[in-house]
């Protein structure tokens, strides 16, 4: 059976979403596996969003916002960076492969970088296969 990964992207409205829009209007070719969720800021990305995405069967997650120093709200992404660093360590400890989660900064003018983030993440997740394939969503623990 053809399997293709489901990847959820949490992006900030001001940089990455606009950058992704630019990638689209520039007709850049991207893998269709990424579902974009637009949020006001990367600091709006509660670590629980990412945990929840994996719980509900996502195979990969992208989190992206403005480059540090360029946050629309001045300091949002600095707080987010600390949170993601700890979440990154936690995911590693829990056995979620490093390649399933991509944290990146993509500015509004970096349509090419967004294309690269999407394609590289999709390729990495494809190489890893489905996340926890042995266990379906909602299946009770034995």
């Amino acid at each position: 059976m053809d399997w293709s990964p489901k990847i959820v992207a949490f992006v900030c409205n001001w940089c990455t979403y606009t950058g992704a829009d630019l990638a689209g209007t520039s007709r850049l070719k991207m893998d269709p596996n990424v579902r974009v969720v637009r949020l006001t800021c990367s600091s709006r990305v509660n670590p629980l969003f990412i945990i929840k995405a994996f719980e509900r069967g996502a195979d990969g997650v992208i989190v992206s916002g403005c480059h540090t120093g360029d946050c629309h709200y001045s300091t949002g992404n600095y707080y987010a960076r600390r949170r993601f660093a700890i979440l990154h360590d936690l995911l590693q400890l829990m056995g979620v492969e490093d390649d399933r989660v991509t944290f990146s900064w993509v500015s509004a003018s970096e349509g090419n970088k967004w294309q690269q983030v999407v394609n590289e993440t999709t390729a990495r997740v494809k190489a890893l296969g489905a996340c926890q394939p042995q266990e379906k969503v909602g299946q009770a623990a034995q």
Binding site: R82, L87, L90, G95, E97, Q139
Partner: protein
């Protein structure tokens, strides 16, 4: 412990506090005691079996204890960090509690045990302890006993986990977490879990599936660890409270190490030090960002 009993009696008699939260001998080992009558203070004890973190009873969510009135609480160094955490996060004010600190020489992992402190019986948290004589206190009792033996169990487990591949770690945690019955005892025992409404109990939107499925257990545990990141005082009450013996203290220690390594923050009994995830530096490391 005579000094403790006398102090508690004095504080209760002169009305400084309405209740003293301490330790007493129960039918099955040492248990928390809530003393409101000065005549009852002779029940109070403090020794190596006093493992429980009593700061958890200062949590304003525990209305039946708050209703007793101003509390005096017996704390060890590790518990003093939890009191500091509650003050830092504005759950209690410094003058709303009388802190009776006791110099601590380590505690047993199991308060129902009567064993001596050895490398096997001492709580693994005591090996990391740097606050055997807490600075945050109103009264400081006892002489400083010698440092406890170090229980290497947790350090060894973390080292073993670090050697595993991602798939092996996934398997390890699946095996551990499939025993979780979602009783949320870890949350109830935790001094730093004081939300009025827990995310895990919110139905609309439902953040975490309340049923004990493998995926939901994983999400619940990860959520709790993330909420405790940079706030956890490493008292290991979650692990002690867990009826399924899930090594929750392992996660706590790993994240505490990660916070310390990245941001130089150690759990402290100084309420003035900001929580590391509530502040930032422009030059924080971002090696994990692609």
């Amino acid at each position: 412990m005579k000094a403790l009993q006398e102090l508690a009696s004095k504080l209760l008699s002169d009305g400084t506090v309405k209740v003293v939260i301490g330790y007493e001998q129960g039918p099955r080992g040492v248990r928390p005691a809530f003393i409101t009558d000065p005549a009852q203070t002779s029940k109070l004890i403090f020794d190596r079996r006093c493992t429980q973190n009593l700061a958890t009873y200062l949590n304003p969510r525990r209305k039946h204890i708050a209703a007793l009135g101003k509390a005096g609480v017996v704390v060890k160094g590790c518990d003093a960090r939890a009191v500091a955490g509650l003050i830092r996060e504005q759950q209690i004010t410094r003058d709303s509690v009388v802190i009776i600190a006791v110099r601590c020489g380590g505690v047993l992992e199991d308060p129902t045990s009567t064993a001596e402190l050895t490398a096997e019986t001492t709580s693994p948290r005591c090996g990391h302890c740097q606050v055997r004589e807490p600075k945050l206190h109103d009264h400081l009792l006892g002489e400083l006993p010698p440092a406890p033996p170090v229980n290497p169990r947790r350090t060894e487990q973390i080292a073993a986990l670090e050697k595993m591949s991602a798939a092996e770690r996934m398997q390890y945690w699946n095996a551990q977490l499939e025993r979780c019955v979602r009783c949320h005892a870890c949350r109830e025992a935790c001094p730093m879990c004081f939300c009025v409404e827990c995310r895990a109990e919110r139905a609309l939107p439902q953040w975490v599936d309340p049923s004990p499925t493998a995926r939901a257990n994983r999400a619940w545990t990860m959520m709790r660890v993330m909420h405790q990141a940079g706030r956890c005082v490493d008292c290991m009450e979650c692990e002690r409270a867990c009826p399924s013996n899930i090594p929750l203290g392992l996660l706590a220690r790993y994240i505490a190490d990660s916070v310390e390594q990245r941001y130089g923050y150690k759990a402290t009994d100084d309420p003035g030090v900001p929580a590391p995830l509530g502040v930032f530096r422009t030059d924080d490391g971002e090696e994990f960002i692609r």
